[in-house]
Subunit: 344 residues, 2 copies
């Protein structure tokens, strides 16, 4: 069966070279470039990919977000290099890479909007990747709203990737050194906060065609369904200094109903029961296959293999499995049907 892995990360050569010039002190990224060959080495990537039947990847840049380490001018240049590099890979290896999702220089919102349109119209990007905050600013700050509007206009998805430091809650050095809690729990928390802001700012009401794919199966939303549902139905009950119940009146639906409008990917690193829980929350039409390769203990194959193992044994019909593996992605990303047939 065809399998489109929609969230898998890469550093194209012309991007990583410039990244290391712009930010030679970016030690963590450097450690990953050295430690995870599949990030930069195409031969390694192809060998891993070849072990899985019908397996294709949608490419996106690995963290850190460009705006987290580069000036606005450098970020604009880096985003172009990232997108040109990924577009080139898609052109050269269409059977392996049916598409890519663009990176944007988010610390330069005008340039980000221009690069969004260029990536989609000229390079054929099938979506954009944004992070859960922009240098600590909430993703729903006014300067970023044109990006949501533009993606709703293109009717192509936004991929929401976690990154530390959402809104006001920053991770200090101390927290960071505390056993990478910032990664294990902080990232899903940040994703959840970004989702909440998108919901409560009414972006789904404002842009009805908006489609957002949340990395790691909706972060905290599915497991904390009870907090989103009856919990948030009581919005305001826990606050005295302002009447937050007005927020509920402003929205057209219950908060939880908006959370189900997001899409979730299956990148849960081998967690079967969580995958079942997430699938029940979003429904088969709102779940897409992704592995987050190559960031696993084997540096590439493990999360792909484990995630396929999970999807293969989900108690669903073959038609539903097909939608999760590639049907939903092909529709969301508007991938050519020919390519689907070739790989199937």
């Amino acid at each position: 069966m065809r399998k489109i892995d929609v969230f898998t990360h890469i550093f194209p050569a012309q991007y990583v070279e410039r990244m290391q010039q712009v930010a030679p002190g970016l030690k963590d990224a450097g450690k990953r470039v050295r430690g995870v060959p599949m990030l930069v080495d195409l031969d390694v990537r192809f060998r891993v990919m070849d072990t899985f039947e019908g397996y294709q990847q949608i490419l996106s840049i690995a963290t850190p977000p460009i705006e987290a380490y580069a000036s606005p001018a450098d970020a604009s240049d880096l985003a172009k290099r990232a997108n040109d590099g990924m577009a080139d890979l898609v052109r050269r290896y269409p059977d392996r890479f049916p598409g890519f999702i663009a990176s944007l220089p988010m610390n330069h919102p005008e340039a980000a909007l221009a690069e969004l349109h260029r990536s989609i119209r000229t390079l054929g990007a099938r979506g954009i990747q944004i992070f859960t905050n922009v240098c600590g600013k909430p993703i729903v700050s006014p300067e970023f709203l044109p990006l949501f509007e533009a993606m709703a206009g293109h009717d192509l998805p936004i991929f929401l990737h976690p990154y530390r430091g959402a809104g006001t809650a920053d991770y200090s050095t101390e927290d960071r050194s505390h056993y990478e809690i910032w990664w294990t729990f902080g990232w899903p928390y940040e994703t959840s906060v970004a989702m909440a802001r998108i919901v409560f700012e009414g972006l789904f009401d404002r842009f009805p065609t908006l489609k957002i794919i949340t990395h790691h199966m909706g972060a905290m939303a599915p497991y904390f369904e009870g907090r989103l549902g009856p919990g948030w139905d009581q919005l305001g009950a826990r606050t005295s200094d302002e009447d937050l119940s007005l927020v509920l009146k402003r929205l057209k639906r219950r908060p939880i109903d908006y959370f189900r409008m997001f899409y979730g990917d299956t990148a849960l690193f081998g967690a079967y029961d969580a995958t079942v829980c997430g699938l029940k929350f979003f429904g088969v039409d709102h779940v897409v296959f992704a592995s987050d390769a190559p960031f696993d203990p084997e540096k590439g194959p493990m999360y792909i293999r484990e995630t396929i193992g999970i999807i293969d044994r989900l108690p669903i019909t073959e038609g539903e499995r097909e939608r999760i593996y590639w049907g939903n992605a092909a529709q969301l990303l508007k991938l050519p049907v020919d390519s689907a047939h070739q790989a199937a």
Copy 2:
């Protein structure tokens, strides 16, 4: 079938009176006292309890934590009033309340330790309630370790309740006004951070009889099993400034194995699929029934009813259901078997 609801909150009269004297500006708590009659009114509580067959409650104080609003001296007095008040209710209504868990003045660690022993030895407390941080300090700070040691010595459980502001990550006013995200996602995040600190500080190795019941079914641990497992097996791969892989060598087990040593309660506010996911993570022996009453949209009965509805349809044996409803709790809290027979 007997049902022991192990996490349900109350404000005994002598406690709430003094709380409002000590902190008249405690508006949120005041709003709840006024808005949720079951917190303070025994008749209301009994009417709700009477609608559920075989239903009993273990009592604990509602948030805020005492140390969050009272000076060390006031906190010591308030904890005594809370515990005396709950012990009195247990004495007067043993069939309704088979036990209570003590509150401690955590901003006065010596007094907290003394109150811990007094509550258990003199008042018959069946555990203690601590919050996920103490005025922003991590719960594993050295001054709190005697409490863990003492509870391991008594072989009685610590109930871990979320509260905002763990360790270094504080919630600012801005975040707080952001739609109560601090409650919906912040609380489970804080619980998860506290669990991680308990794990990585090696408390389960140091105190082998330590038993900790996490409110809300292990917070983020079950859904993010993949991050705890293969994710944290790579501890250090994301950090350059120190070698965090040494932490793994210091521990006797994989990080995820320690997370399964916690207990989870079923207070997930009506989320069936999450309950299944949490139960799979912890196993039947490490899950206990709790509703978090009375904080639901109906101010008491709803979460009890919904949680019972979920446990009743879990795909487990009747014997397993019995363990979740009361068997595990009776064993953990060392409740008299007679009382079990009376109510069964």
